[in-house]
Symmetry: D3
Subunit: 282 residues, 6 copies
């Protein structure tokens, strides 16, 4: 998993540790004996889907090579409330130094995986894929998209550079759907498909006429989505987005679409409830 | 406001833009004429408290000095649903290049300020301050704490380096409350007060005996908090935390504490609903 | 043009200047009066296609805002031997400080554009596109691919991240063409087409059966290419590569392929012959 | 060899890998099993002089400490067409991740060493040294100059900071050869010799009169070079440059000069033809 | 000790080595055989207090993992003239590469610790703490404050961020002592004490009336300090600074103050006299 | 002056400001009104030689483009006690933000220039040049060597990369003076002279026999230096070093040497006494 390669993790981990430690942990430095060794248990205080343990490992490896760790579950496994997720062991002052940063990463990533999993379960049996968006936290996109995948979701494009998505603003700027699609087709590399955002039937007609390969139905209600799918007749892949959450996702999922994309997956997530409990090793 | 100085903003803005643009925006480059000028309106799609407009300005200034901006509200003002927050104007392809990154910052910071404001309003008249924690998004701590302040909250320490907070793990490591506080007092600089986390009356007694200056009551119910405050008798500043949200915060606020700290302020926030609508300038 | 945005150029320009200047230009500092103003003409000493002037401008802008520049041709224009390409004016010691770095960039990019143009002319009328590869100079990929485009070529994928190309090694690792393509299809995002490298008719058959969208014919002679094209019958886009240069490219271009990719475009280029001649302004 | 110290290699290797991998290798991630182990042979597809294997090692070490490597030749050895240069072994997906970047470095450096070797052989027996120039690829100067040395060449100054070379533009700016040399002598550190570029006999006279220690004869034909050498009579070291290549270098080498400098050594090199062939380890 | 964590040391060590080595150590590369192994002894050429050995270790570890080291004293120990402080062993060319940088760090830090120790000894028995200031060398603050601590001194705030010190300029800007202190109290976090700079009795009165917690008596003579202490009556911690050195510090120390701060501790220190002597290992 | 180019200054200024400000100046942010404008005078509290004003300008320019500055003296001028060196004007909170960092740079550089000037005056009339060494503060070498030049001194090599100096350890490693010099001559570039460290007459003889161009007499008394100079007879440039300071430098200067190098110039300097006094602008 590329996102978890040290060269990708070290810069953000380093930045997060610097942000937290600045010129040093004055409490721990005053109180905790450097020779003291401790064990720490990461506890799931509510049920969650695990995502991001390799980041925890890297946080502590960055601080010192004297810290060992073990994890009791695989990424993507559901962990029940009260269970120990994993353990670390090493000098107490270093465990305290990394505690908050490790938890900040882990709680966010598990939060994303857990919510993704719920959405995936909500569409079970329909064959619909749950997509993320570019509405990610600045600096954490790769990790957040990783957590979506761990939760069972599917990644939409990673940025503006690796996929063509013609949105409403592009159509306005290009002077119409037809011209926008034709321009894209003539200039974009031969390995890209073209997706276009559509908000009504007329736009859909136009898009199908110029032969787009993927259609994004934006802010439509389930009935309009159903009608659109009927019109498309399998001639394009269909993605739907806008105002979809756990309560209404099933309605959309059974309408015949291929993918549902959800911004809240990364921009409005509840952190998973996890704590680190230290015990002094004797 | 130091957090908003360009030298602080440019690295994270640069990182966020690189993350989004990689080797270039292939859709816009194929479709949008470089000479096209556009105006963009940032719309509040739900009521929100504004925080982070200076980051939006800096995102577009980073992209080009040809983009102008104006904002119609002050940081901290409440903006009603449907109102235009601010405007940008410049080459359409550059507005499109910065759109998502600017929104990702703005929606998160407004989300934090909006929730902080609600908590502040919930304790109105009690004199209690709403504190944030170190449970912030890796890389965004200064900005998130800024948004808390804009929403009317008060910043707890910025990291491990600028305040002494003796937590349960420190007490364990030091071998008791008394030793922990004495160690801290003898080693920590002469400008720092000492705060200690307490979870029951016995610990509280011990802490008061060694004369700590600030007490953090952790995971207590309002009754226990009230009893603790009575015992403290103004001899220490009192902070309370753990499981407090909009529904129960008033119960805690009227118990006589000085501060309530809320991790969810920064780790489980709902992004404010904001969109950018472009119109082609003629 | 995204590649030429200052945020992309400044790091490599800064690196190149540091590499050249280290602790300072001891010759110029000893000899050249700081108050001396000079004009410099960039001369084409052989015919060339212009690419990279914006990099030259940025090199000198990085050194000082007191240096002005003008260019007499557009990117992509052919410039005859002996012509002045453009001019700079400013403090002599700064022009000397940037001279070599500016030329090192300009000569390489013009060299690439010039060779690309020749290949494009060699296939004129066939409708075939000239593609680059990932065989670029470490650190300069965006700029080199920009120069290819300026010369009239078409960019293949920018890296491993924005396009799927299944090469021989992937087939080996996956255990056959069929499995490789199926794996790719099931895991890769919905905006990507799948390209596969093929070196004989049997592999081609297999690839067509699993419905790949793009075929790369590797190291085939023109006859085999022709036969393959006949077999493909327009069911896939066809790219050809391997041992193709100015002498034999036409043979491949008339064989019915869509694209020809040439590694030498970026890995074995002759720098364009350009010099900077200073004259002291009076 | 300082150029090959990890602290020098890691930044450019990291940059090259980021450039190639961006948000991840989508092909390999979809197709190649993480548990699959492979061996890779670097094959010389044409005869070449080896230079840069330590960079290859560092590329793969950067990716993972699980990749082992061995090389069958020393830097500077000639390798015949078809021979295996060296081998790597490790997880297949990591070998694929580093393949192109490793080859891009290795092919360029071998290309430089190979051409340098040919020039060195062309002047064999004359005692003349083959010098490089500052006409190097931005960002790769140390490595390219290393390859020149491996090929048997001699390094001219590394940048503007470590040697005094008064060129035509400096003379113009200083107002004459005499003043330029005197200025240099009075201001430059006591460990530097002074070299001056000369293009005719009159300039040579002037330079000899002020006692320069090294003379660079620029763009002269062999006859004029011979005449100049006769005039210099060993009173200065003699370097010659301008329009010299494999076809005419011997003519210059026998004219009595000490060094011949060749810009093409680094700016117009043909990449060595090398491929990496993977085989799955059982 | 946080200051000595590799993530803090590596950037400044790397910067110092780059500054010294640039494109390589031309003397050593020409002369010293790569296979030659040497031992190096760090000799105290005058009596000193050891501080900074872990930086020496890290300098050589940065250069290579083949260099071993041992130290014969603890940080903070006094070392007599002529004694060996510690030893390194490894490839001679690497020891030579790191020698000057290691010594530049070590001599400065030992210089600071040595002078701090003398000041501490000069106030022995008075209970007064010797404080440093923010008058540190740009880029070396953490290390210099570490050396002060090693020498027996106490650290004042690390920067503008971790302590409140209202200086004369702040009072001017705020419009009086009272307003300045009240402003600070209402806005600064609940973990900070407030210190104010005072230069006469009237200011002192005003400060005591608004209840500041720490008073800095600036540029007073010992008599005025004594009078001030009498007036303060233990209601505030007392720091004194300005024009205090080894000759007069005792006069201040016996006046009843708690702390004496000395800028010269970090801005005007004499480097300790240390040399590295290599011997070739057989 | 290359050292003062923004691209060189910005990194160390940025680092110094980050080091001082961390998460923000809590005192100023609480007390000083953002709208308040102030003027600041830099006062020489003792006589000094000015060096480093351009760094002061850049510190404040880095903070904001709203700060103006003027300087009343040239670099290198002597400024009497009590004089105003220069002025800055702008928002009070920004002047306070940059004050300490600006002073830390300025006081150090003026300290170096002032001491250099005294040494230069002490050798007046002898023609001897005062050289610095590589014993500089990590990270500040270019600036410190600049200050030496401003004070009237001469720069020795900037690092290991731009000059050959064979020291005792090199001789040991090479197995004798003769071999060391011959090795250096055969491998080092044609623009470098060779200097060797000598500590007695026998070594001097050996060095002269192999024709070194510069001799460094290390730790000799003036008589031995005189004798050495007599022996050298102008056949090599002569530098002397070791234990030389203001009290004994004249004795060495009249012994016929060309240069005297002084490590204390950069490693044991007393910061110049300078303060910044703010006044509120009305």
């Amino acid at each position: 998993m590329f996102e978890l390669a040290p060269q990708n993790l070290v810069p953000i981990i380093s930045q997060a540790l610097i942000e937290d430690q600045g010129s040093g942990d004055i409490t721990t430095e005053a109180i905790v004996d450097r020779a003291l060794v401790a064990r720490g248990n990461f506890l799931a205080k509510k049920e969650l889907v695990l995502a991001g343990w390799p980041v925890v490992v890297e946080v502590f490896r960055f601080l010192s090579q004297c810290i060992s760790s073990e994890v009791l579950f695989d990424e993507g496994e559901t962990i029940v409330k009260g269970a120990v997720i994993g353990r670390i062991q090493g000098p107490a002052y270093l465990l305290l130094a990394g505690e908050r940063v490790a938890l900040n990463f882990l709680q966010r990533l598990c939060g994303i995986a857990t919510y993704t999993r719920r959405l995936v379960q909500a569409v079970e049996g329909t064959g619909v894929g749950i997509l993320d968006t570019r509405k990610t936290t600045p600096g954490l996109r790769l990790l957040e998209k990783y957590a979506v995948r761990v939760g069972g979701g599917v990644n939409h494009r990673f940025g503006l550079y690796d996929g063509v998505l013609i949105k409403e603003n592009h159509v306005t700027a290009a002077g119409g759907i037809k011209r926008a699609v034709q321009q894209a087709r003539s200039k974009v590399g031969h390995l890209h498909k073209i997706e276009i955002e559509i908000s009504n039937m007329q736009e859909l007609e136009e898009a199908l006429q110029v032969g787009v390969e993927v259609v994004l139905l934006d802010n439509m209600n389930p009935e309009d989505v159903r009608e659109s799918v009927a019109r498309i007749q399998g001639k394009a892949v269909v993605e739907v987005s806008g105002g979809i959450d756990l309560r209404n996702i099933r309605n959309y999922a059974v309408s015949g679409v291929d993918f549902i994309s959800i911004g809240a997956l990364t921009h409005s997530i509840k952190a998973a409830d996890i704590s680190l409990e230290l015990e002094i090793a004797l």
